[in-house]
Symmetry: C2
Subunit: 303 residues, 2 copies
Amino acid sequence: MADLVVVGSVALDSVKTPFGKVTEALGGSATYFSYAASFFTQVRVVGAVGNDFPREHLELLSSRGVDVTALEVLPGQKTFRWTGEYGFDLNEARTLDVQLNAFAAFKPKLGPVHRKAGFLFLANIDPVLQLEVLEQMERPALIALDTMNFWIEGKRADLLRVLARVDVLLINDAEARMLAREPNLIKAARTIGEMGPRTVVIKRGEYGALLVSSGQFFFAPAYPLEAVFDPTGAGDTFAGGFMGYLAQQDATDPASLRRAMVRGAAMASFTVEDFSLERLKRLERRELEERLLTFADMVRLEG
Amino acid sequence: MADLVVVGSVALDSVKTPFGKVTEALGGSATYFSYAASFFTQVRVVGAVGNDFPREHLELLSSRGVDVTALEVLPGQKTFRWTGEYGFDLNEARTLDVQLNAFAAFKPKLGPVHRKAGFLFLANIDPVLQLEVLEQMERPALIALDTMNFWIEGKRADLLRVLARVDVLLINDAEARMLAREPNLIKAARTIGEMGPRTVVIKRGEYGALLVSSGQFFFAPAYPLEAVFDPTGAGDTFAGGFMGYLAQQDATDPASLRRAMVRGAAMASFTVEDFSLERLKRLERRELEERLLTFADMVRLEG
């Protein structure tokens, strides 16, 4: 079992979907990621919050064994806030407001334990911050990165600089097309491979996720849910299951990448069943095991 | 090996996509279906064309062993024509013109060989015609049906009457939602199951296809293509591979349904690589076998 470090946002989210709403609920890419990954391995969060960040949220992460010692509480700052809403097409969020707050001032400084971690996830934040963290790592076995349209459009040069140094890019399909400047998704994945990451994981929401690695394809379907309440955090949860499993196995071989895809899809399928981390908080290992069996059955061709 | 009967359109299509166009090219649901199914079993077409229908098209189907004796050439009639176009989002066709022509007057009359067939596919035509064919069959092992928004909206009562008597519905995702009047696709599949078909195959274009059968799910991904020229006929070709395989195996068990899904997806992946039936006409069995291996590998979790 290897350690897993994540740098990303820890946030207070206000979200409205056709099925309800929450105000200033626990959110952020590093939050969803680390909570999901905690089912598999030792995960350590690098990030920053303001001194308005409720103590119970830190305690929640600690209760899962997540190391929050490098989650800095910046005095006189407020926590990152995101406000968004979804229509009946839950595939796309409309961002209504973003307040970077603590993240605007944040300068990550990693201690010796973090620097030695074998697995690193650069969650969806400013590529400049992603690079600052990457450069402090000693020799991770696997580096993965997530990003979004905001950085692809606004900080392309910085993003390309980080991308050249990562092994795996996790990205949604529209953003893959935007990054590669290519409408065909399979060609886009190949173009992105030439930018650095030898493995590209394309997240397609309710349509599942596609792994493209050294010319090989693997497809993980999404779990067939009868009710999706809030897709916020699904992609970060996917990444948490994916990276958490790889760190647990301390493996980066093709067969492990495939099994990691299914762990990611399973974890994400729970997140969307409720707002914020509510469903993950109720998640029992037995339920996860059952869902993994269903996933295996959903693609089983023989027997 | 069992016989397979299909009733559906045999048409002349004029299609424009961002990658080119064709005028009055061979098309129609029964055409794509029977050509694809001919790779697996004896298929017999029930339908009608006008006396303007080029003889070489009939010869093409015959050359594949397709029985066209019940494809009536109606004197003084013109062949069904469809004109449509696609934008860069190839998932949805815009219909510019439809001329039913020969199909407006068509009254299907099945002979003894057709009536005895073990497998029946009611391709996307007027549900009244679908029912007329179904009622002439003696005792098919499996009846499958395809339909579209036009009939769901315009002939719902007739459609529900046929649906009550079929085993498998093949339908695209938007139309499944429309038929069930339910935005969640999994709930929609369950609702449709209560209308008659115990198996629902939901076609999702570039996102693959989902089989829902007696509460079990199976997912077939779409083949990862670097170039899609024209999606016309993909769904009918899928159905042809799916039903052709089941008839070949003379089987309707769950494991055979899963293998049939992959045959359908593989056949459809060839159709979209060129206009009309051009790619299928060049298709060699060796290429089909190779693509089936890739499909199996795309969902392989172990080894």
